[in-house]
């Protein structure tokens, strides 16, 4: 059916083109319009006014029509061959007329059946290649349901109105046999109209094959046909206008509103309100006298530092001595480029023409620029002074004589380190104690041992009593303090000393029992070999490492290694009474000292020095030397100055009236400071250290507060050997001469004289 429907418009158009070829464009337009406007086919037919009996055309959707049209336009020439057998006669006629171009004369006769006039064409003689469709099917019943004829002997009527009888129906067996025997049975199908099997035509078979293959059933359809452009492309623009409306006026009359707008701009340009863009010719920047106008008051930024000017070594032909040796060259090459002192190696060329390009030129320029914009600049004042002016100008040591400058004699302890030495208050005698427990007494001028005492354990400390009318000294060993009288004393002194240390009537025992026991051996056992008095410290108090006398010679303070109550005891010899001044003390006490004039008491813990007033029993001040571990301390005879030495090599000078902080900190020993001592009468002090050296200083202290104390290093005394990392363990001055006695770890005790 579809094919048939499609055929109609094409035929009609074909006709029209044939008839009026001259009007072809107009017709084409109208035709186009017809399809697009969804008008009835009849109207168009009437427009044409040529074909009377045009078959009825269904109104169809636009798109369908177009598709069909497109499909059929390609093949309009062969339309007739595709036409079905069951066409209407009218159609048949028209199509025949179109395609064959042979018009057999039709006769008009009156139909027997209808009584109407009817055209009758002569019988067509089927030729050899004539279409099989022209073979007449006898049954002309039309497209009616065939079951209407089920009960009748005929199955319809032929063209002449005679009955067409039902053909004989084969039974099932015959059917089967025919499928076996008849080779064409499988390509035949039941024809409803003829009520019999009819072989399919080749076209029908082809259609079936195409359907099976999923192709387009129409064999003549070419899916790849070239597009024919009807409405687009060159010269086809106005072939089929969409509308026949006349061209509007606005198409060619200039716009009034546009004119108004343009005039507005023109007026603005005339009045100078709009200035055209500047011509781009002035890209060249021209220089002018920029410094003719006065500059701003702002100070100019600091100019960048200039690079260094080249020196002789950069010459292309330097003196030969500037050339690097092989070693220097290698060193330079091994260095990192940032560490190099010079960024080039001096080279020598015999002629200017041989000088090559410098390969780092751009790199150096770039580095300079990086310096200019990335490096922070600091203004630095260049010190143009002689470095020796930095050294403080001090009086020459030769003008500050006397001071000890050479070793006059040496006394040797064979068994152990000479831990402690002490010089008698009259300055004639020295006692020295070693670690084996031996205490020797010898004369300063001679250096020969007069007497020795042996104690059962290591000597912790020893010191002469500062009193001149009596003569004895204190020796501390493990948990004991011995009071010993030296031999060969003049009679009155000896008797006075004995009376002091072992009076006939013992002082009354203290009200509160003290843990310290004072013991005197019986008078009969007295000898110069044994101590006349012994104070037994309480158990586990350890070895007293320091003995400090009060200037009056009645009180003596000891510091023990055992840490009960800080290990500090103050003993009163006349009353045979000992007391621990501190119930509780912060830190481990290293040293104690009595103030030479006032009732003050210095206590050095590891890091601080505290000053107590003993009479008022309160803390006066805490000195902060900034030393990690205090090793030694001494107070100036005036009582206003204190020196503190530490194991971290520092020596701090405190002006007690000035501050809690040191007035001066010095670090000149290479190892820990072991001992310090102020000379009682001369302006001297000495420090000894584990580096084996003794440093003598001149230390003048002024009474007026405005003048700072003068400290002048005088002499470094060397002569003690270092044993096991220990050097000079203690130094003491002779009270009347500028002489120094020092005990070292090598077991020698030396006297240094001026």
């Amino acid at each position: 059916m579809t094919v048939k429907d499609a055929a109609k418009p094409s035929n009609k158009r074909k006709q029209s083109t044939d008839n009026d070829a001259s009007e072809a464009p107009a017709i084409a337009v109208t035709n186009l319009e017809m399809w697009s406007d969804e008008e009835n086919g009849e109207d168009v037919a009437s427009d044409d006014g040529e074909v009377d009996e045009f078959p009825e055309i269904d109104t169809r959707s636009d798109s369908e029509a177009e598709v069909l049209e497109a499909s059929e336009e390609e093949e309009y020439s062969e339309e007739e061959e595709v036409d079905d057998e069951d066409q209407d006669e009218d159609e048949d006629e028209s199509s025949d007329a179109d395609s064959l171009h042979v018009f057999p004369k039709a006769k008009t006769i009156i139909s027997n059946i209808t009584g109407q006039p009817k055209r009758v064409y002569p019988e067509i003689e089927p030729e050899y290649d004539s279409d099989s469709s022209t073979e007449d099917a006898p049954n002309r019943v039309g497209n009616v349901p065939m079951h209407w004829y089920d009960d009748l002997p005929h199955i319809g009527y032929d063209i002449d109105g005679k009955k067409v009888y039902r053909p004989a129906k084969a039974d099932e067996l015959d059917k089967f046999l025919s499928t076996v025997e008849d080779p064409s049975s499988w390509i035949s199908a039941f024809d409803k109209n003829a009520q019999t099997d009819k072989p399919l035509t080749t076209e029908e078979l082809d259609i079936i094959r195409r359907l099976y293959a999923g192709e387009n059933p129409d064999a003549s359809y070419d899916p790849y046909a070239p597009t024919i452009e009807w409405f687009t492309g060159k010269g086809k623009e106005e072939v089929m206008p969409l509308s026949a409306a006349p061209e509007p006026k606005r198409r060619w009359v200039p716009s009034k509103w546009e004119k108004q707008k343009v005039m507005k701009i023109v007026r603005a340009i005339r009045q100078g309100r709009i200035i055209g863009s500047k011509p781009k010719s002035t890209s060249k920047f021209s220089f002018y006298s920029i410094w003719s106008e006065p500059s701003s008051a702002n100070p100019p930024p600091l100019p960048a530092p200039k690079p260094r000017l080249p020196t002789n070594s950069e010459s292309y032909n330097p003196p030969e001595e500037y050339l690097p040796t092989e070693k220097e060259r290698k060193e330079w090459e091994a260095q990192d480029s940032e560490d190099r002192e010079r960024d080039y190696l001096p080279q020598k060329y015999s002629a200017l023409r041989l000088v090559p390009a410098y390969d780092n030129f751009i790199k150096e320029r770039f580095n300079r620029q990086l310096d200019l914009y990335l490096a922070p600049r600091v203004q630095r004042v260049k010190l143009n002074i002689d470095p020796s002016t930095l050294i403080p100008k001090l009086p020459s040591p030769s003008s500050l004589r006397p001071f000890p400058n050479y070793k006059s004699l040496k006394f040797t302890h064979t068994k152990g380190r000479a831990r402690c030495v002490s010089v008698s208050p009259d300055g004639g005698w020295v006692i020295s104690g070693d670690e084996s427990g031996k205490v020797s007494l010898w004369e300063v001028n001679v250096g020969r041992e007069v007497k020795s005492w042996n104690f059962d354990s290591k000597i912790g400390a020893l010191d002469w009593c500062p009193r001149l009318d009596v003569s004895y000294f204190v020796v501390t060993v493990e948990e004991k303090i011995h009071f010993v009288i030296p031999p060969n004393l003049p009679g009155p002194v000896l008797s006075l000393t004995q009376a002091l240390l072992a009076p006939a009537t013992l002082p009354p025992a203290p009200a509160t029992p003290s843990p310290v026991k004072w013991v005197t051996p019986a008078t009969s056992t007295w000898s110069t070999d044994t101590p006349i008095l012994t104070a037994h410290l309480p158990g586990s108090s350890g070895l007293p490492t320091q003995v400090a006398w009060h200037r009056r010679g009645d009180y003596v303070a000891t510091v023990s290694t055992g840490r009960s109550q800080g290990g500090v005891w103050i003993h009163q010899v006349t009353r045979r009474h000992s007391q621990a001044p501190f119930k509780k003390i912060k830190g481990a006490v290293q040293l104690v000292l009595f103030h030479p004039l006032k009732p003050h008491f210095f206590v050095a813990t590891q890091q601080y020095v505290r000053v107590y007033n003993l009479s008022e029993q309160k803390l006066l001040k805490t000195l902060i030397p900034g030393i990690k571990w205090i090793s030694s301390m001494d107070v100036h005879p005036s009582g206003d100055h204190l020196i503190v030495g530490g194991y971290d090599r520092k020596l701090c000078w405190f002006d007690l009236e000035l501050s809690d902080k040191p007035y001066k900190i010095m670090r000149y020993h290479t190892r820990a400071i072991r001992s310090l001592h102020f000379h009682p009468s001369y302006p001297l002090f000495a420090s000894s250290s584990d580096d084996g050296a003794i440093q003598i200083f001149h230390s003048r202290v002024y009474n007026d507060l405005m003048t700072d104390p003068l400290i002048v290093p005088l002499k470094i005394l060397r002569g003690h050997e270092i044993r096991d990392g220990l050097g000079v363990l203690q130094v003491k001055w002779c009270s009347r001469q500028p002489w120094l006695v020092s005990g070292g770890a090598d077991g020698t005790v030396a006297v240094w004289c001026s």
């Binding site: 863009s277 781009k280 920047f285 220089f287 002018y288 006298s289 920029i290 410094w291 701003s296 702002n298 100019p300 100019p303 960048a304 690079p307 000017l309 080249p310 020196t311 002789n312 950069e314 010459s315 292309y316 032909n317 330097p318 003196p319 030969e320 500037y322 080039y344 080279q347 015999s350 002629a351 200017l352 023409r353 000088v355 090559p356 390009a357 410098y358 030129f361 751009i362 790199k363 320029r365 770039f366 300079r368 620029q369 200019l372 914009y373 490096a375 922070p376 600049r377 470095p387 020796s388 930095l390 050294i391 403080p392 100008k393 001090l394 020459s396 010095m666 002048v712 290093p713 470094i716």
Partner: protein, 622 residues
């Protein structure tokens, strides 16, 4: 109660700003910030305490003065940079849409920034600008020698070439070149302009390659600034000198490779006159000297020095005789007739600051051999008033030919080669002219006088070329050390010889000496007495012995004194504060380093001299 002080509201925290904070504040990219910093001359500062400046953080950052950044915030260049950013966006959009006409109009109206206000701001006075053009000149002369590529457009290179030529022209015109130094890096020139010394470095004429680690963008930004600066500076210099700026360029000559000669200096008064062709003729050689003039001058010179130019053989002994008492001979010239009078005191004069002699080469005419670098020597000779010509292979524009009779010196830098087929004319010409190596020109300039050509003759080993800029105070001086070292050595040698003789003569004399010394050292009168007796026994005169004793006494005293002094000083160092001690150590370190440097150089020199002497001896004997 006083107001609470909040942290970070005053002091270093306010005064400094980190780089990232600055970028955030200015709302620009890092590249733009860098560009601004370069153009405006803003550089990072080092706060006294980094922690205080950076809110307690000690992370490594660079700090700027907050005020610097605040000033940057309303910098016209920054605004232009922002406009440029917008422009770039618009342009890329137009290009992406294919809107060519709008892209073109955008491109035409591209925002361009100007740097003149920055120049004025950074250099409020002209002197400030002159003081700071060293780097600019270095950069411009470097870029003038670079090949152009996609990153370095040819216009840029051309502009740099033009600027460096303009500067050279000005220096030549104003005769302000003072010093020159041929180094392994390039040629250093020093000029004195407006009482400011300007030193710049020009690389030798080779193609330079930009190494990959160099950021060309940074260099180009600097170059942008430097070009503007130099343009303004040159404008001022030229107009002050009554010249037209920019000097017109003769394109034809430039294409011929005339270099500096392609530019013509034009007086502002004459600029109105329509005679450009005439002007160019004038300026190729700044001073037009007729050959007759030159010949006369030469005659004058030769007459004064009392030597005939033609026969060098005769001249040679004379010159060597002069050489004995003086290092160089000054050729008296018309320009400074006093020089002959000052001859006897030359050595004294050498120590004084050299008088300016800007017309040093005025009486001479030079010719460059083709292997010498024309730009260098053309500049040098012309800035000291000389005339110079060159072969066509070194570029066009030579004012005279090689055959010109006025040529007095030929600057030649090739080994001496015998020419077998020499026409008598050529030979005559060769003998008449003095052939010198290029270093002679530079050494003459630095010495401020014409040096003897003998040492610099073609094919001779050149004397060392020393820096005219000098070294730090107390540095090793190769010229001074020369004489001293030789004297020292001779002295020591003499001593050695004497000692040898003495040893041979009387061995006991030495023994006596030692005895006396020992006696003095011990300071023991008995020992002294013993020594005296021994001397008497040996037959030595008493007075001699006395002298010996006093001498050794003095020596020992000196030694002990010095020892005591150093010991005292060492002791006094104990009393220095920590800060002072560190400063002292630092100064001592640098002193020692310099001394050791000097000592190594001197030692090397001595070793070389010894080697030379030995070589000379062996060669003479063998």
């Amino acid at each position: 109660m006083a107001r609470l002080k909040q942290k970070g509201k005053a002091g270093a925290a306010k005064a400094y700003i980190t780089r990232s904070a600055a970028i955030k504040k200015l709302q620009c990219s890092l590249a733009d910030f860098r560009r601004l910093c370069i153009l405006k001359g803003i550089f990072p500062r080092e706060p006294r305490s980094r922690k205080k400046a950076n809110k307690g953080s000690s992370a490594p950052t660079s700090f700027y003065y907050a005020k610097d950044i605040a000033y940057l915030a309303h910098e016209p260049v920054l605004r232009k940079l922002r406009e440029h950013k917008a422009f770039a966006k618009k342009l890329s959009r137009a290009l992406g849409r294919g809107e060519w006409s709008s892209a073109k109009s955008l491109e035409d109206n591209k925002p361009v920034y100007r740097l003149d206000h920055i120049i004025k701001e950074r250099y409020p006075t002209f002197i400030d600008a002159i003081r700071d053009i060293d780097d600019a000149l270095c950069m411009v002369s470097l870029f003038a020698s670079l090949p152009s590529n996609s990153r370095l457009p040819p216009e840029l290179i051309e502009n740099c070439t033009r600027l460096s030529a303009e500067w050279q022209l000005y220096v030549m015109h104003s005769r302000s070149l003072r010093k020159c130094f041929l180094s392994i890096k390039g040629v250093y020139y020093q000029a004195e302009v407006m009482d400011q010394t300007v030193t710049w470095l020009v690389p030798y004429q080779f193609t330079q390659n930009i190494p990959p680690e160099v950021d060309v963008r940074v260099m180009l930004t600097f170059l942008e600034l430097y070009q503007t600066l130099l343009g303004f500076v040159f404008f001022k210099l030229y107009t002050d000198a009554g010249l037209v700026y920019p000097p017109p360029l003769d394109l034809k000559k430039d294409q011929g490779g005339a270099g500096v000669g392609a530019f013509s200096l034009q007086d502002t008064t004459r600029a109105s006159g329509p005679a450009p062709a005439k002007i160019t003729a004038v300026e190729v050689d700044v001073r037009k000297v007729s050959s007759k003039d030159v010949r006369q001058t030469i005659k004058h010179i030769t007459a004064a020095s009392g030597a005939a130019e033609a026969d060098i053989e005769m001249d040679a002994p004379d010159a060597s005789a002069e050489e004995v008492d003086e290092e160089f001979v000054v050729h008296p010239s018309r320009s400074d007739p006093q020089s002959s009078a000052s001859l006897p005191t030359l050595k004294l004069l050498a120590d004084l600051p050299q008088p300016l002699c800007t017309t040093l080469f005025a009486p001479y005419t030079f010719y460059l051999s083709r292997e010498t670098s024309r730009p260098i020597f053309e500049f040098l000779v012309r800035s000291f008033g000389g005339r110079i010509g060159w072969p066509a292979s070194s570029g066009s524009g030579s004012p005279f030919e090689e055959s010109d009779d006025s040529i007095t010196h030929v600057i030649i830098d090739r080994p001496l080669v015998e020419k077998p087929n020499e026409t008598p004319e050529e030979r005559e010409r060769r003998l008449r002219r003095k052939h010198v190596q290029p270093q002679w020109v530079v050494d003459c300039i630095n010495a401020g006088k014409i040096l003897l050509e003998e040492h610099y003759a073609q094919g001779k080993t050149l004397p060392p070329h020393l820096s005219p800029f000098g070294e730090y105070q107390g540095a090793y001086d190769p010229t001074a050390a020369d004489g001293a070292a030789i004297e020292d050595e001779s002295e020591s040698e003499v001593e050695e010889v004497e000692e040898d003789e003495e040893e041979i003569k009387d061995a006991d004399n030495a023994a006596l000496k030692s005895a006396a010394q020992a006696a003095v050292a011990s300071e023991d009168p008995a020992a002294l007495r013993a020594a005296e007796l021994a001397a008497e026994a040996a037959g030595v005169d008493f007075s001699v012995f006395e002298k010996e004793v006093s001498k050794s006494r003095k020596l020992s005293k000196k030694a002990t004194e010095v020892g005591v002094e150093t010991a005292e000083q060492d002791m006094n160092k104990m009393m220095m504060s920590n800060k002072q001690r560190k400063l002292y150590e630092k100064m001592k370190y640098s002193q020692k380093k310099r001394e050791s440097e000097r000592a190594t150089l001197e030692a090397k020199k001595r070793a070389i001299q010894k080697q030379n002497k030995r070589d000379g001896k062996t060669s003479s004997t063998g």
